[in-house]
Each structure stands twice: as C-alpha cells, then as structure tokens.
Point group: C2
Chain length 682, copies 2
C-alpha cells in the first residue's frame, strides 16, 4: 500500500463516518427532552419565586400571581418566537455567541460568552438546590441538610461526567416526558376537581402570612409596582434554558432548522401550559409560601408554627393535595421533578465543554479546549464548573430563592444581545435580497426579533433594577471577570501570531547538521538512537556522555571499544554530578561554531506504561528536553524504545479514545459512531 492509499483510506474513513452521522442524529421526539430539560425544569421553581416575592406584602398580593404568570408566559412566547428565527438563520449551533459575534462584533460575542459561562455555573447551583429542596418534600431526612446533599449531588454529577457518561436520548426522554405528563396531568386533574368543586386546599392554606418589614399596612403605588416587578423578574427564571435548542441545531435530524424550530415551539407551548397550571392551581388551592429564611412570618391561627416546620415546594404541596388519597401520584411528581432538575444540571456539564471548544477555536480560551480528545482540558472544565457551583451552593445555603437573584441577569444579557444581533442580521440581508417573498419573510422575522428585543430589554431593565443589590452584581462581576480573561487570552494569541508571521528570510536552510547522541549507558535505547541518528546522515555525528564518576566512565569507554561502535564518544566532565548543564553548555558551544548550521540532539528514551514508572524514569530526559527548547538553533529528537510495560499505556490510551466526553451528544457524536471508530483503531 503506498502512501497515497493511506491518505485515501483516511478519506474513506471520513465518508463512512459522515454517512453514519446522519443515522445517529436526533429526531424531534428525542431532541425535545434532551434540549428541553433545562427550560422545563425551571418551571418547577419559577412559581415558588413568584409567590415568595409577592408574599412580602402578605397574602393580598397573591391576587397578582395570575397576572404575573401571564406576563412571564408572554415573555416566554416572544422569546420562543425570536429564537425560532435564530435557528433558521444560524443552524451551526453557535447559538447566541455566534449571532452576537457575527452581527455585533467580537466584544458583544465575548459578552454573551461570559454571560453563558456564568449561566452554566448558576444552572448547576440553582437546579441542584431546587432539586434537593424538592426531594426534601418527600424525604424528610434531607430537611436541614440541604447544602450537604446539594454538594454531594454536584460532586456525584461531576464524577459521572469526569468518568465519561454518554448522554443518551432515552435517559432524557423518559423522565422528561414523565415530568411533563405528570405536571400537565396534575393540572388537568386539578382543573377537573375545580370544575366539580372538589379542589382540595394545600397544606399551607390555613396559614397566615405576616407582611415583611416595610410592607405593613397599605402599600403605596410605587412600592406595589416595585413588588410586582420583583415578582415578575423572579418568575422570568422560567425562561432559563429556552436558548439551549439554538446551540443544539447540528444534532437535529434534517431538515435541521425546521425541526429545531418546531421543537422550540413545542417546548414553549408545554412550558407555558405547565407554568400557568402550577400558578393557577397554587392560587386556587390557597397556597401560602414565603422565603425559607422568613419562615416565622407564617402563622397558624395567630400562633407561630411548630419548631422545625418544613415548608415544601409549591409543586410538592399541590401534588400532595391533589393526589390526597393516592400517594403514588405525589411521589411520581416529586420524583420526576427531582430527576429533571438533576438532568438540567447535567446539561450544564455537557454544554460547558461545547462552549469552551467554540471559544477556543476563536482564540478566547486555551486552544487545548478546542480538541475533543483533550481529556485534561475537559476534566479541568468539569472540576471548575463543579467547584464554582459548590461555592455558590454553600455561600447561599442551597436556597434557590437566593441563587435566582444572580441567575436571571446573565440569561437576559444573552437574550438581548442575541435579539439585537438578529435585527442587524435581517437588516443586512435585506440590503442584498431582491426576492419579494423572501424579503417579506425577512421583514416579518425582523419584526418578531424587534418585538422580542423590546420585551427582553424591558425585562432586563426590570431584572437589573430589582435584582442588582440582591445578588445580580455578583453575576455581573463574574461576567466582567470572564470577559477580561477571554479578551486577554485572545490578545495574547494575536500577539504571538504577529510574532510568528512568516517573512522572506525564513526560508534559509541550515548549511549543516551536527548530530549529538546523548549516552547514559550502553543499552538498547542508546544503540537505537545511534542507529537512527546515523540513518539521518548528519554532517558530523558524535556521542556524548556526562562523567559523574570515574568508574562508570571507564566501564562505558571499555564497552564502547568492545562493541566497536564507529561513532566518536566524547566525555563531558561534571564535578558536581550535574547532567543537564554540561550538555546544554556543549550544545550551545557547538552551535556557536556553526551559526548557520543546526545542532540535532538525539535523546534515547525508554517508554514505560504506568504512572509510577514515569516517576522512576526519564525525569532527566524530560528536564533536558525542556531546557534545550529554550536554546536557539537546536532541535531535540526523542528516540523512544518501548519497554514491555508500555503496552499498558497503549491499552489505556485505546480505552480512553473510546470513552465518552461530556457534550458528545450535543455535537452529534453518539454511541454507534463512536464505537465504529473505536473498532477501526487497530
């Protein structure tokens, strides 16, 4: 087989995997649960936040809960409609980052990226905290240990993702559909009970809410508006995750954009239905819900609640009441809610490396992140994500209410910049488009995005006003940090690229090659290095040995003669048992004599397979190589000699290659095709 064939074989391999690729893409029914778990899960905690905010003014303000729910639903509707435009216009999966970069420039793109990075951390923290809080409704032993359980869950998730677990459509589909069916089923059953006049009250119905300090008595107009704004902006937590589909378009079956847009519409419809159902039921069933930190504002018939009273989540309270005589119903709702919240956190672990690789391709993150195979980069990313999430969970006592104050601002930063970018996009395309039908469509799209921008901009301002002091400043600070960091990385790469730019004088070829083979002992690796060096036919070839004690040197010289090796052996003396410095000094000296030549240093290395063997071998070779790299005009050649134990490493490497990396599913890299590649690698 000639080299040409090899190339063809590799080309062929590509064709095969490309064709396979189509088969493993996601149909809508699987894509929906995979990409919607984040968005749907937020429906589980958004109503709680609305009721908590309203409760500040006592139960009277609960009259507004309906309206706030509708307002949130309206925002969600416009956001979903807007994003349907995005997936059509940018089917490559770059999402908001790409839209902002292409249309608004790099600074906007990096801003969106910073917001997304902060969002991933908060998704983990909020989802897990909420999941634990939810689980506490059914599992009393979790009560009052929420932080510990939440941290344990984050560590578990990080562990699973470090180990490499394939996101599978089924794993998402079953619990997501179960959650949807459960909540919507509960809504329908509740509606039926309501119509028949049998709707029971929730456990907190008999409680009374004392207004928070500062909200006693009649509220002024402004105070009321501010209260409603706060409740509304907290409710907008329901919107988080809606943008996920726009990052996942490449994983959809063809026609990708159309399928993605349909899925997005489905997602919007389901989320709105669920949100309205929950708020409606809660309101009708007399729910009373306050900030867990202000639990003493709840009273029962004028008496404080018993010590250790546990306030269960809204969804759990409703489920317990609706399924009063049917405990499995309650447990089903609580269990699926918990699972979907964990799945939502897991999507952050999968989305993070995908965003990292996109940023790395653009030079805003270390380049190593761009390559799928770089396990170390992934691992660091996962550990980074988990650590930050745990810091937040611990700092905020695993209380979703307090974490959500940080959350929403980032989401709306990307919503806004993305919408603004889309408007620019349509305007630009309208300049060149002539087909009237197409132009009409573009005008319509632009109108939708403009409306979307208007809506999200208003929400963004409300969020900023109501949340800034409550915690959003932390998120903004973190975004600013990521922004500066990414800009700095890019600047560094640009500076290096400038320095590396080729010019004319770079074609000068060195006139001669002076080869030096390092000898430590006369064993197989040395002989191989000598043979290889000789095969390259350098202008001069010599072996050098560093003499650190006379006996060893004498023995080596004897062996050298004995074997009749026809390469001259030069001995460098090193009175202080230093090995590296004499070699460097010598190489530099040789190079000085032939400034237009090049010194090739051959280092025999034996390759071992286990990590502890690494500690015992080649440390000197490693440091020497590192040191020689800094010396101009010298090239360093490793001549490896594979010891038997190196097979262990090869085997491990092969297993490693076959492993799953977080984010694979999102990039359209799924089981069958991964395995096919793995088998081909013999």
């Amino acid at each position: 087989m000639s080299v040409g064939d090899v190339s063809k074989r590799i080309l062929l391999g590509r064709k095969l995997s490309s064709s396979q690729l189509g088969e493993t893409l996601l149909p809508k029914r699987i894509a929906l649960p995979v990409f919607a778990s984040d968005a749907l899960s937020s429906v589980a905690y958004a109503p709680d936040e609305v009721f908590i905010m309203l409760s500040a003014a006592g139960v009277t303000a609960y009259a507004f809960s309906w309206k706030i729910g509708l307002a949130v639903a309206l925002v969600m509707l416009t956001v979903v409609l807007s994003y349907r435009q995005n997936v059509h216009a940018y089917p490559s999966g770059g999402g908001d980052y790409e839209v902002a970069t292409v249309n608004l420039g790099r600074t906007a793109g990096v801003t969106v990226a910073s917001a997304l990075l902060v969002d991933y951390v908060l998704t983990v923290a909020v989802s897990i905290s909420s999941g634990v809080q939810n689980a506490a409704s059914a599992l009393p032993f979790i009560n009052h240990h929420e932080t510990a359980w939440a941290c344990a869950l984050v560590i578990l998730l990080a562990g699973v993702n470090l180990r490499g677990v394939r996101e599978s459509g089924t794993a998402f589909a079953i619990p997501t559909y179960a959650f949807m069916a459960g909540v919507i089923g509960m809504g329908i059953y509740g509606l039926f009970l309501g119509i028949t006049g049998n709707l029971p009250d929730v456990e907190s119905a008999d409680l009374t809410i004392a207004p928070a300090p500062g909200y006693e008595g009649d509220l002024g107009q402004i105070a009321l508006i501010f209260l409603l704004a706060r409740a509304f902006s907290s409710g907008c937590a329901a919107l988080t995750g809606v943008e996920a589909i726009s990052n996942g378009v490449p994983a959809f079956k063809k026609p990708k954009s159309k399928n993605a847009a349909t899925t997005l519409a489905l997602l919007g419809g389901i989320a709105i239905t669920m949100l309205i159902s929950i708020i409606g039921l809660a309101r009708s069933m007399g729910l009373k819900y306050v900030d867990p930190d202000d639990i003493d504002r709840l009273t029962l018939h004028g008496q404080p609640l018993p010590e250790g009273y546990d306030q269960h989540t809204v969804i759990a309270q409703i489920a317990r009441a609706v399924f009063d005589g049917f405990p499995p119903g309650f447990y089903f709702i609580v269990a699926t809610t918990g699972i979907i919240l964990v799945l939502a956190a897991n999507t952050a672990f999968n989305g993070f490396p995908v965003l990292g690789s996109i940023l790395a391709q653009d030079g805003y993150a270390p380049r190593a992140l761009a390559s799928r195979g770089d396990r170390l980069a992934y691992s660091n990313g996962i550990i980074f994500l988990a650590t930050l999430a745990m810091v937040l969970i611990i700092a905020f006592d695993a209380e979703p209410t307090r974490l959500i104050q940080l959350y929403i601002v980032g989401v709306f930063v990307s919503f806004n910049l993305s919408q603004l970018g889309m408007i620019r996009h349509w305007t630009r395309h309208l300049k060149s488009e002539t087909d009237p039908a197409e132009r009409r469509r573009m005008y319509r799209s632009r109108a939708i995005n403009t409306f979307g921008l208007a809506m999200t901009a208003v929400v963004f301002v409300i969020v900023l006003l109501t949340k800034f002091l409550a915690g959003a400043w932390i998120a903004i600070l973190a975004m600013a940090f990521f922004f500066v960091l990414m800009k700095g990385i890019r600047k560094h790469y640009d500076r290096v690229a400038e320095e590396l730019k080729a010019d004319e004088q770079d074609k000068v070829m060195p006139t001669r090659v002076h080869a030096i083979v390092l000898v430590s002992k006369l064993h197989k690796p040395t002989l191989r290095a000598l043979a290889f060096a000789k095969a390259t036919r350098p202008n001069t070839l010599e072996a050098i040995f560093v003499d650190i004690d006379d006996d060893t040197t004498k023995r080596l010289l004897d062996q050298w003669d004995e074997r009749g090796i026809d390469v001259p052996l030069k001995v460098l003396h090193s009175p202080y048992r230093e090995i590296i410095r004499p070699i460097i000094d010598y190489a530099v000296e040789v190079r000085k004599q032939h400034p237009r030549g090049v010194v090739a240093v051959y280092i025999p290395e034996y390759v071992v397979g286990r990590w502890w063997e690494q500690l015992l071998h080649n440390q000197t070779a490693l440091r020497l190589k590192g040191r020689l790299l800094f010396t101009p005009g010298i090239m360093v050649t490793s001549v490896p000699f594979q010891l038997r134990s190196s097979a262990v490493a090869l085997e491990r490497e092969r297993r490693e290659q076959g492993r799953v990396h977080a984010g694979d599913l999102r990039r359209g890299r799924t089981r069958e095709e991964g395995d096919a590649r793995g088998e081909g690698d013999e």
Copy 2:
C-alpha cells in the same frame, strides 16, 4: 574554537572547581557545631525523659537518676569510640548505610536506610516539639498551644528550605557554642553554688509525686528493673545524632578522617559533660518532673496544683533557679536551647536530600533524586518530610515524651547494623593485612566495634522491650514500609535494565528515513521545521496537515503554493476535529510500509516563557509527542522557535541554577564555589 577546545574548557572548569573545593571545606571548629547540633540538642530533652520515667514510682526512684545518667554516658562513650572507627574506615560520607551495605549486603543497607528515613522525620518532630515546649517556659502565651506553634515552625522550616537557604557554618557555630557555653557554664556555677552550700531549689522542689497506677507501694524486683530499663532507654535519646558526623566526613578539611574523628571525640566529651551536669543539678535541686499528661500526680502539700499549672522543662527549671537574681542568664539558656533544637530539625531537612541522592545512585529511590539540580525532587522530599513530621506532631500533641517512644528504635537499628558491619570490615581486612602494626590497630578497632555492638545490642533489646507497645511499633511499621518500597524500586530498575541490555541485533541501521513535518499554520516555526527537516536530507520528506475545517485548509493550501514551498503537503481529514489520532494513524501506516526504515516526525514548537503561556500553547504538541513515544519505529523531533517571552524562562532558569539546595553544605558545596559557577554560566 574547535569542538576539542570546548571539551578542554569544560575539563578546565572542573579543575578550577576542584581546587576551590578544598578552600571551602570545614575546619573542626565549624564542623563541630554544624554536625553536632542534632546530637547536642538531644541532651536538652533526654534528662526530662529519664525523670518522667522514674517518676512513675514516685520520687524515691529519682535516686537512680544518677546511675541512669552514667549508664547513658557509658553507652554514648562506646558509640562515639565505635564511630571513630567508622569515619576512619569509610571517609566517603555514606555513613551507616554504606558500612551496612558494603559489609552486610544490600538488605542490611536498605534496612539502615529505612531506619534513617524514619529518623529524619522523627528528628524534626521531636526537636521541634521539644523546642516549643522549652520556649513555653519563657513565653507563657505558647502554653497550651504547643501543637499549633510546632506545626507553624515545621512549615516555616520547610518554607525556608524550599526557598533554598544556605546552611552556613556561622549560623550553626554561634548558637551551638552559646548553648554549650551556657549549659556547661550553668553546670560549673551550679557546682560552685553546691560546694558553697548555696544551691537553690528548683520551682518544683516542694511538690510531691504520687506514684502512677500500678506503682503504688513497694515495687517488686522485676517491676523496678523494668522501670529503670524504661528510664534508661528513654535517656538513650541523648545518643541520637551522634552518627551525623560519619555522614559528613567529605565536608571536613584534610586530613578528613582524622579531623572527623577528633570532632567526634570532642562532641562525645561535651555531650556527656552536659548530660551529667543537667541530671546532677536537677537531682540536687529537688526537681520533680512527671509526664505532662499526668500532671495531676503532682501535688503541693497534699493539695492539687492550681488550675493551668505549667510544668517547665528540666533545663528551664534549673536555669530559673540557678540564675535566680539574674534573669538574662535564664533567658540565655532557654533561647539557645530553643535555637539549637530548631537547628537540629533543620539538619534533617538538609540530611534527607543527601541520603535520597545516595539511595538514588544505588537505585533504591527515583533516579531524579540523584541529581542535585532536580529542584522538584528536592521540593517533594522537603514537603514529604514536613508533612510526616506534622502528622506525628499533631497525633502526639507535640509532646516529646510520647514521640521519643518512636524515636530511639530507629537510631539503634542503624547503630547495631553499623557496628556489625564494622566488625565484618575489620575481619575481612585482617585476612589480607600482613603489617603487624596495622594488624594490631585493626584488632583494636574490631575490639572497640565489638564492644560497641554488644552495648548497642543490649540497649536495642531494652528499647524494644520497653518501647514496643509505647509507640516503637509505629516506627518499625514505617521502616518496614520504606524497606519494601525501596526494594520494589530497585527491583523495577533491575528489571528494566535487564530488558534494555544490548545484544547483537541492536546494531541494525534503519534503511531509510521518512520525514514528516507537522503543519498547523504557515508561520515561522513551521518554516524553520521544514528547513531543519530538509537539512537532514531524509529519503522522503512531506508536510502533513490535519483538516478540521475546509476554509482553513483552503487558505493553507493557497499560502503553500504562493510561497512556492517545494515540500509536498498532504492533508489528513478529521471529521471529528481530532488532531492527534489522524497523525498517529498516518505515521503508523507509513512505518508499516517500510518496516526497516524509520519515521521522523518534526514538530514545530514555539517556546514561551511564562507558566500561563504554557497553558495556552503547545498542549497538542505535548500530547502528540507523548502519544508518538508509544509508537514503535518513530522518532519525534521538536524544532523549537523561541518567542521573545522565552527570555523570561531563561532568566528564571539562570536564577534557579544559582540557588541553594538543601544539603549543599553537607556535600561540600558552599557559597564561594556556587557563585563562581553561576558567574561562569554566560
């Protein structure tokens, strides 16, 4: 200047430094404090241990303290006499490890090495704990926070040694001589006071000691003997550190052995004088001293001691009483004692790397430890030592009394094996020696070592019997662990050496060289790599590029043509954005076609200088190199291109080279000569 001259220049450099070496060696007056701080410092705590052990039977047993002091002095005398034989016979500085290895075989040598390793850890723990306890006598705020202060001191010492601080003769000489002068002066003044009948009582003289549980009433013969044996073996702590001089012979001025032997004799004389003075004074001044944990066995006129009573060390109590009207005298004694104990701990930090490098040369420790320049290896050693010492300090509440139970067994393991080795040594030499005078000397030396062995063997048995359950088992377990570890490392090196042994077929030269230059972009490093590769005139030369997106590939191909590069560029397709696997696959394929040839892979690398720049660059090159090493028949050449920032690293490297490493003084590497080398490295 020809290459021959270079070699000569390096030879010349060696001569220069050898001659310098002599000038920086230690005269006796400096060597004594440097090597004796460990041995002398143990005199500071050994008497306390004797009194504590005796106190179990109440104050009546204190009558034996004199005799026990004399017994310990006798053992010390024989050990000193024995080691004088060692330094004459083995002047190379290998110490007990060398004596045991040469005469008793490797297993004995490794046993001694294990014992020494454990000893170093315990030296740090015991000295620092004792130093802190001593400081507490003068500085009341340390009381009851001994563990924290001891840990802080260990961290400080480790930090100082990590940073690299030159052990200087002066730094040792002043406090060591001050300590000797202080204690002996106190002894003489105390003797004078005693003769004139003015000897005051110590602060604890009025106290009464209740016997420990089980020691009430009249003691049986056996119980008394056991008690005395325990007290004696605790007192033998005074012997620790005596062997240090035998490891430091190379640092002495000529005649090395003679000077070392004289210094040893001096050390023995001083230590015995100090020990006897302290025990004598304590006894005469009515000292009462119990285990700090059993402080409630002390009573004052039948009443328990006041809450928070602090029992000061023996030396501090004596100093306070003797210098009653002269506080500077008391503070002088306490301060010099504290300093010498810290110096003793510091010697462990310096001795540890020296032992490590000797073990590494013999293949019992990672080879990297053998090279002075390996800062990482040193750092790990220092951190290891500090961590273990802190674990011990925390586990034993920084109480020297409890730590000493672990300490002495290791010391006596090396004493015994060393004496046994010396007997063998003389016996072997007697076989060939014919000169009667020389034979007589050898007979005498052997007699001394035999007597030494008899003495240390008895002590060893006593120590084992009395200390095993009290903690010696921990030390023995640790020794066993190090023993197995070192044996395992050696076995691994042997197995690898066997596998690497050259045989006849290793001379086969590869028939042809197929050179592959990896291209990621067309920039200076790539052009340089191409030029270098071309200069080596391979049989075939091609450039390869991994295509991960079509635009980049097209751009590169255009540039390639534009610049008219005469090396064929082959494009490997990689549908999954993998870079490493296609290259490996290709290289393996090429190699398969020419099994008798060799594939040379040239990797252009740009070299940056700062650690964070490393994170941003060359990660792929690094992993690729790592991966290619495991692929047979391939040699990997790095063609470095030094970016401007690489100068930072070169500068750092230069500073690093000039730095001090722990243990330098012990190896005869001192300031002047280190600086001279540093200056020569331009």
